[in-house]
């Protein structure tokens, strides 16, 4: 009995220590953006200075869960908004696993459907959790108390109607994808999903959007995503490519890598760097 009492005490002390350690580590009043290494796909975790958690896409499988566990304290289970850039498997399938372990407070995406059984499965899971889907369009934005702003730059309703007249997303060719700008102080990061050059050019045509710090390179570095005029306007310090090693699409393409190089954008790649974490206090930024 004495033995178990001793063990109990040790457990308590350890618990207090571990709790304090994680509390200090994850509550540093800075903005954290993590491009999770989810293989071929996209999964971006954002933790704001006031410790609100956001997710943009969740990758193709369970890997996203490991990434979330490594970048938030173990007792936190709420994700304020889960964004889905567009209903393709390599962006949404991970939400099935995220939902088992975390509470999504709201779920936001573009108004496009995908007939596949896996996407219908996700929709029915959302329904089971009584989560209403918020459809976002260009011009929507919200700001949270700590000053972090999320602005939706694309797609417009016209663009969705033009590219997917039947409301179903195409597998190839042109389709709409959410483009989201996150800003905190003078720090800005642009998340482009699988958008292609015409949509992206249109999204950043507003004069207020230039000179960003971080660019999530569109469509895993495919050759259809970037154009010189886009980079000359955005002038990002870093370009992050979320991609799986040796994927069958040949992402990222030479064309895109050369283009990023030409504009002196420092390129980071999840298949080489693993999880890529960017930390900002609103002025400076640090890459981990």
């Amino acid at each position: 009995m004495k033995k178990y009492f001793a063990i109990g005490t040790v457990i308590l002390i350890f618990f207090a220590g571990f709790f304090s350690y994680q509390f200090v580590k994850f509550n540093d009043n800075k903005l954290h953006i993590v491009f999770c290494d989810v293989g071929q796909g996209d999964g971006i975790f954002i933790r704001t200075p006031s410790n609100k958690n956001f997710l943009i896409d969740a990758g193709p499988d369970e890997k996203i869960v490991g990434c979330l566990e490594n970048h938030m304290p173990f007792w936190e289970r709420n994700i304020s908004v889960a964004f889905l850039s567009h209903p393709h498997l390599d962006h949404f399938a991970g939400f099935n696993y995220v939902m088992k372990r975390y509470n999504l407070i709201s779920f936001a995406t573009e108004d496009l459907n995908n007939k596949s059984a896996s996407f219908q499965g996700l929709l029915s899971q959302l329904k089971d959790k009584k989560l209403r889907i918020q459809y976002l369009y260009s011009g929507d934005s919200f700001k949270i108390k700590d000053g972090t702003r999320f602005s939706v730059l694309a797609p417009t309703k016209d663009f969705i109607d033009k590219t997917s007249p039947n409301g179903q997303i195409g597998e190839t060719g042109e389709f709409a994808s959410l483009i989201i700008l996150v800003s905190y102080g003078s720090f800005t990061a642009l998340f482009t999903g699988d958008s292609q050059a015409p949509e992206l050019s249109q999204a950043i045509s507003d004069n207020s959007i230039q000179d960003i710090k971080i660019l999530g390179v569109p469509h895993h570095g495919s050759k259809t995503g970037l154009r010189p005029e886009i980079l000359s306007r955005l002038k990002p310090n870093y370009g992050v490519i979320s991609v799986g090693a040796h994927n069958r699409y040949g992402h990222p393409t030479r064309f895109t890598l050369d283009l990023l190089n030409e504009f002196n954008v420092k390129t980071l790649n999840t298949s080489k760097n693993g999880d890529i974490e960017i930390i900002s206090d609103g002025k400076n930024l640090q890459v981990r």
Binding site: D61, G66, W75, S118
Partner: protein, 410 residues
């Protein structure tokens, strides 16, 4: 003489039963339309657009390939109809495949349905409370529920020889029973404490969903730790043999179940090898006074008994295994208590359940770190094929050593 006669009658009955069982196995062939009832013995392998379910068909392996949704789970009862395709594997074994058959989920009875629901609630609660590897480990230790963990961690558990803790073996139940007896025994009479512990184990069997492997484990666990307490070793030995006998008589397939083999042999090890440590006064004193002495004795007894089975089934053995087991086994009964109490609380109040389960965090953290540390140290012995002669020789040697030790004592 009398015992020998009774034993041979029993063995004869068993022989006839096993012979008839395998003689009457249905035969299947390529292109045949089949209607099957299957209970999933493992969770389906899920990839992004399909599920692959493993099952047995007669004496052959069957793979069922089906769409991503609806998702099936470990322990589901399925009614499946479709056309068989057969495939010959590299090792000349034949295997059947069903591509996208019609699948219907059936619910056998209310009690089982209830426990299935409860188990699902446990899985949900644990997953929402702990990191992935931790929740899977705790679900495995507490209820023998196999949830996915990262391949890396699963492999580390395997090579350090502690995978058995997630298999709901008789050893877990023994540790659990011993622990609650110790706790109750602190303020109750010994007989009463023993009675309450057995009751505790039965309640645990209910929580764990009356799974055959857990029922077997519980029967054997109760045998061992009641023998430890009452000091009636012979009674427990008969009990163990009878329990094993009837389990095989009821379902001859049991004998091929690794969980059964491990439970049975480990229990025998605890009954016969463990007392050897305590036969010498000097060793007994050391074991009693040190913090992990009991666990060392338990681990060595169980490992000595199960070594050939581990080799034959997992093919690898880490020289650190006894060390790792000694370092982590003491956490198992506590984790089982935390898991069982936390899970039960969670059925009534999600919040209370979560708070209680958090208590397991430091223990699981410690468990994980030890396993990962030692799995990185090397020292792994790999054995390709173990012939039955070697296994038989090993057990004969073990039995004669124990026998020699006993007669020596007398």
């Amino acid at each position: 003489m009398k015992i020998a006669a009774i034993a041979s009658v029993f063995l004869l009955i068993l022989g006839v039963r096993v012979f008839l069982y395998y003689q009457n196995q249905p035969h299947f062939s390529e292109g045949e339309d089949v209607d099957l009832k299957i209970k999933l013995n493992s969770g389906p392998k899920i990839s992004s657009n399909r599920q692959v379910i493993s099952a047995n068909l007669g004496l052959k392996h069957l793979l069922i390939i089906t769409s991503f949704l609806p998702q099936y789970h470990y322990q589901d009862n399925l009614k499946i109809s479709g056309r068989l395709r057969s495939k010959v594997l590299k090792n000349d074994k034949e295997m059947f495949i069903l591509y996208y058959p019609k699948i219907e989920k059936t619910n056998p009875n209310i009690l089982l349905k209830l426990t299935t629901e409860i188990r699902q609630k446990f899985i949900d609660l644990f997953s929402r409370t702990l990191p992935k590897n931790y929740s899977s480990l705790l679900l495995g230790i507490t209820f023998g529920i196999k949830e996915k963990m990262t391949d890396n961690f699963l492999n580390n558990l395997r090579i350090t020889g502690v995978l058995h803790v997630i298999a709901a073996s008789g050893m877990n139940v023994t540790l659990f029973g011993g622990f609650i007896t110790a706790v109750f025994g602190f303020f109750l009479k010994r007989q009463l404490a023993l009675f309450l512990s057995i009751f505790g184990i039965l309640f645990y069997v209910f929580l764990a969903g009356f799974e055959p492997s857990i029922i077997r484990a519980a029967i054997m666990g109760i045998l061992v730790f009641s023998s430890q307490i009452l000091g009636r070793q012979r009674l427990s030995s008969y009990g163990l043999i009878l329990a094993g006998y009837f389990m095989i008589l009821l379902s001859p397939d049991t004998i091929f179940d690794i969980g059964f083999q491990l439970s049975f042999v480990a229990t025998a090890g605890l009954l016969y090898i463990r007392p050897v440590f305590y036969s010498s006064k000097r060793i007994k004193r050391i074991l009693d006074t040190s913090l992990v002495g009991e666990d060392i004795a338990t681990t060595i007894s169980a490992q000595a008994a199960t070594l050939p089975i581990l080799f034959a089934n997992f093919g690898i053995y880490s020289i650190w295994s006894i060390m790792v087991n000694t370092l982590v086994l003491w956490t198992v009964p506590m984790l089982m208590i935390i898991g069982a109490v936390g899970g039960t609380l969670g059925l009534f109040s999600d919040f209370a359940g979560k708070i209680f389960i958090f208590v397991s965090f430091p223990l699981l953290f410690y468990f994980e770190k030890i396993v990962n540390l030692f799995s990185g140290l090397g020292g792994i012995v790999a054995i390709g094929n173990l012939s039955w002669q070697v296994i038989a020789g090993y057990y004969l040697l073990l039995i004669s050593l124990i026998y020699a030790r006993r007669t020596h004592k007398k």
